[in-house]
Amino acid sequence: MSKKEKESKIRVVIAKPGLDSHDRGAKIVARALRDAGMEVIYTGLRQTPEQIVETALQEDVDVIGLSILSGAHMTLFPRTMELLKKKGLNDVLVFAGGIIPQEDIPALKKIGIREVFGPGTPTSTLVEFVKKNSPKRK
């Protein structure tokens, strides 16, 4: 137990819910957050909301990033948020990215997804967002 090595890192899980297999975006985000000094856990493709929430719990993450391009976000995101609450992971910061129509965004924000990032978002915007909004834990 060294006092000198006291360090706390932002832990993020980047997850791909649903059935699409386009993970380039998710990997770019994971890489950008890694390069910003965070510890990024990547789940791989085709995750159910149950798997994502269980991973977040076991890995004790501060942040969850959901990437989806299949169009199933209005089903899978509410389910994910519901499970997070059920497991007591209320303070985890959740953001999303991928192909999500503008008109769906207000409904997603309402269920607790803090921000939705579309294609073309500079990774620096994302890094700033996570650094600013990641929950401060002791």
Partner: protein
């Protein structure tokens, strides 16, 4: 009920009940060296020592994570609960890490009898993170029958896993090198069991015979004789046999060999803890009094050298202890 995640008693109780949230939080507290980390470890320590700790090491891409998924599934079929700590490297440049071992273990994430934790090295050398050993202890205290520790994709000298695991598996794949590579020191000396994975690939038999030849050259005849098992994590070939060999090794350790191994590990750990605490206590005081800077400057100007300076510091520390 969600346990309070700052209360030591609650966390300790939660861990012992196998509550995943408590386990997760406790590992973070230890990993971040939070103030109550030592207290938690002290409380959990007496509850450890029941799990069989399996260390898995080997070069990047040998198939360690995929093999672990297959091993865990087979262990679950046999009714065992399993904890996994999978270590990946921290970037020395950004301090960040990409932890990708879960990708190969997706099928396990919803099994209530399995807990998986990814861990970054945070630049600790040796193939493991500084907190890996204590994380394995937390899983042991949580009642897991088997705890698996996966090292980073290791080169020839990342051998810290021997200090943590009861049984060490060195996972190799065909095409990584010839019999000369197999004779080299380091990794090739620490395996209790060598696994030639990707047996579905060409040259697997050549790799087998290279390792076998290396093992036959061993001059040490006493104790456990390391052996080679051929597996394919892809097809499942050899997994059941590998578990049998692991069980053989566990039984062998029970005949008394484990005490020898434990004694050595405990001695090393005690020395490590002592060194750290002594260094810290001396440095804390020096820094508080502003003497640290003066001393480093003296060395910089060649007025003294690091060894003499350390001698003086130690002599001073001894005097203070005597006064007390």
């Amino acid at each position: 009920m969600v346990p309070s995640l700052t209360d030591v008693e609650q966390l300790v109780k939660g861990v012992q009940k196998g509550d995943k949230r408590s386990i997760a939080r406790t590992i973070s507290i230890i990993e971040n060296s939070e103030p109550h980390a030592q207290k938690i470890i002290s409380r959990l320590y007496p509850k450890t020592g029941k799990a069989h700790v399996l260390g898995i090491t080997g070069p990047p891409g040998a198939g360690k994570s995929t093999l672990i998924e297959k091993l865990v599934k087979e262990l679950r079929n046999r009714g065992k609960t399993v904890g996994v700590v999978a270590v990946d490297p921290t970037s020395p440049f950004s301090g960040g890490a990409f932890l990708g071992d879960r990708v190969r273990m997706q099928d396990l994430s919803l099994d209530p009898g399995v807990y998986i934790r990814s861990m970054a090295t945070r630049n600790h050398p040796g193939g493991l993170a500084r907190a890996t050993k204590d994380a394995a202890r937390v899983l042991d205290a949580s009642g897991k029958d088997v705890v698996i520790v996966e090292t980073v994709g290791a080169g020839q000298s990342e051998v810290d896993v021997v200090k943590v695991a009861h049984t060490v598996l060195v996972v190799l794949a065909p095409g990584l090198g010839d019999d000369i590579q197999a004779i080299k020191a380091g990794q090739m000396e620490i395996g209790d069991i060598f696994v030639v994975n990707k047996a579905d690939r060409e040259n697997a038999d050549k790799a087998m015979s290279d390792v076998e030849a290396m093992l036959e050259m061993a001059t040490e005849k006493k104790g456990w004789k390391p052996l080679v098992v051929k597996t394919s994590a892809l097809t499942g070939e050899g997994i059941a046999e590998l578990l049998e060999r692991i069980e053989d090794h566990r039984k062998y350790l029970k005949t008394g060999a484990i005490d020898e191994r434990r004694k050595e590990t405990i001695e090393n750990e005690l020395v490590e803890a002592l060194t750290q605490k002594i260094t810290e206590s001396i440095m804390d005081e020096l820094k508080r009094k502003g003497e640290w800077k003066k001393l480093t400057q003296k060395i910089m100007f060649r007025e003294t050298d690091p060894y003499s300076a350390a001698d003086k510091l130690l002599a001073k520390q001894r005097k203070t202890i005597k006064k007390r």
